[in-house]
């Protein structure tokens, strides 16, 4: 009997890797760990590498991705307009100012998560797949409808967490939910890492975090104050040379594209992070 489950008309289960774009959902469970920043930065980094990318803001009612991308004032139609048939999908896609093949589908601000269903998200992603290389979905915080909407079409999931016990606990919960849905593989991004605090034993190290979560670490992003100013200015940090956080995001984008990029050294003298970079396949 159990073998029947998921074999039938379920839209989100057991899907074969579709041709065209890979759908990557960025999620975390806990709010405020940097999902939107991560989505925006990986998006622009991929666009910089000549990839065709669509970003979808699934955080209906609390949209932010448009602000971080600097596209807030260009919104005419949104995701809910597409779902409810008020516009064509193309009309809701906002082209980035700098990259011709980077688009954003914004969330609706005046509605809530129930305005969209998981099946709607699968349908939209499938419509976009043939024309793009990557579809990045910015998931809302929480484990309810908004989360289920965002992960429904995912081929791959990125879990963003901070080196804090509460964020790691929520990430663990999310990974458990994804396992139950047979969604995988999940990759981990450790955001807002402060090497000096880890050295003093005041912050969880990447080893501590991967020890608990037991999934593949695909990026370590150091804490960087310019994340705030660049988000406010609507120009993701990955576009700026010389920023270590920006470099970390560019590296993550390349790893997602299948390249083997060594983990960068976060400390000049090569402390524990150098060891980490060796642990995770860096040279």
């Amino acid at each position: 009997m159990a073998a029947n489950v998921g074999a039938g008309g379920a839209p989100t289960q057991g899907r074969k890797p579709a041709r065209g774009a890979k759908v990557i959902t960025v999620t975390s469970g806990k709010g405020g760990v940097g999902k939107t920043t991560t989505t925006a930065n990986i998006g622009v980094a991929m666009a910089q590498l000549q990839k065709r990318v669509v970003l979808i803001d699934a955080d209906i009612g609390l949209r932010n991705l448009d602000i971080v991308m600097g596209l807030e004032n260009r919104i005419v139609y949104d995701l809910v307009d597409v779902v409810e048939g008020r516009c064509k999908l193309r009309q809701a896609m906002i082209k980035h100012k700098q990259f011709a093949e980077l688009y954003l589908i914004p969330a609706a601000q005046t509605r809530d998560k129930t305005a969209v269903s998981p099946a709607d998200m699968v349908k939209i992603a499938d419509q976009l797949r043939p024309e793009f290389d990557f579809i990045l979905i910015d998931c809302p915080a929480g484990i309810e409808r908004g989360f289920r909407n965002a992960v429904a079409p995912a081929d791959e999931v990125l879990i963003v967490t901070n080196p804090e016990v509460s964020a790691v606990r929520d990430a663990d919960r999310i990974i458990g939910l994804l396992e139950a849905e047979n969604k995988g593989p999940a990759n981990l991004i450790l955001n807002r890492v402060k090497p000096d605090m880890i050295r003093k034993g005041e912050m969880l190290s990447p080893e501590d975090v991967t020890d608990i979560l037991a999934i593949k670490l695909i990026g370590i992003v150091p804490e960087d104050e310019s994340v705030v100013s660049s988000s406010n200015a609507g120009t993701p940090l990955a576009l700026q040379e010389g920023s270590r956080a920006g470099q970390a995001y560019r590296d993550i984008a390349r790893r997602l594209m299948g390249e083997n990029v060594p983990f960068m050294q976060l400390e000049e003298s090569g402390g524990f992070l150098k060891r980490i970079s060796r642990m995770f396949g860096g040279s």
Binding site: V5, I143, D172, I212
Partner: protein, 231 residues
């Protein structure tokens, strides 16, 4: 139970509830409610896969069952049926819908059943889970529980019998939950958030630097003690 209108059994994804396609829908659903209420604490938190066989179920009817389960702390996530109407109702309610193949009336008994049981083994209940339990996962058993993996903080195991963790135990465990104070908890690394045996509660010492070693927790002299396991 061939006469029953409702059968409930555990499957990989959660709880499989099969409602007979023959009887009146209303009497079947009230049977279902009665069955759950008889063991409400045991079923609470369960994820339910509903199999209605050939019966066509309208959206409002299915919605009623969904609400019935939710009121009892259970979550309906999928529906199996051979009826297109039911499949459509399930899809409209945003549930996973599966076309089920007719289930054979009685599954052929496994070969192992033919062999005589040792009295010590006979009737022993237990579940074995071969994965890490992550935060938010709840495992309940009327018997023993064996976890082949870690039990992360935020996960919970409640067993009437013993709990054995072949990995790190960082979550909450309650062994002998019906009052059996001979129940034990074993783990390769014993650092539970909270550990309960029968009516006793203990927490792990707060010192962070410990060397993982296999340990067993049991009740001695009216308190929980932790000892080397097999040492």
């Amino acid at each position: 139970m061939p006469d029953s209108t409702v059968t409930i059994k555990g499957v990989k994804e959660g709880l499989l509830i099969t409602l007979t396609p023959e009887e009146e829908w209303l009497s079947v659903t009230s049977d279902l409610a009665a069955r759950i209420d008889g063991k409400s604490a045991f079923y609470a938190g369960a994820h339910v896969l509903l199999d209605v066989g050939t019966r066509p179920v309208r959206k409002d009817e299915l919605g009623t069952v969904k609400a019935l389960l939710e009121r009892r702390g259970m979550t309906l996530f999928a529906v199996s049926s051979e009826s297109e109407t039911t499949i459509e109702s399930a899809t409209a309610l945003d549930l996973r819908a599966n076309h089920s193949a007719p289930v054979p009336a009685s599954p052929s008994p496994a070969q192992v059943d033919a062999l005589p049981f040792n009295p010590e083994e006979d009737g022993t209940l237990g579940v074995m889970i071969r994965r890490t339990l992550r935060s938010g996962r709840l495992v309940r058993s009327q018997g023993h529980v064996v976890i082949f993996g870690d039990v992360n903080a935020g996960a919970e195991i409640i067993a009437q019998g013993d709990v054995i963790v072949w990995g790190r135990l960082r979550g909450n465990v309650h062994a002998g939950c019906e009052g059996d104070d001979t129940a034990v908890v074993c783990a390769l690394d014993m650092v539970p958030t909270q550990l309960r045996i029968a009516n006793y509660i203990a927490v792990s010492p707060t010192d962070k630097r410990h060397k993982p070693k296999p340990e067993i927790a049991l009740i001695r002299d009216n308190r929980i003690i932790v000892d080397a396991w097999g040492g």
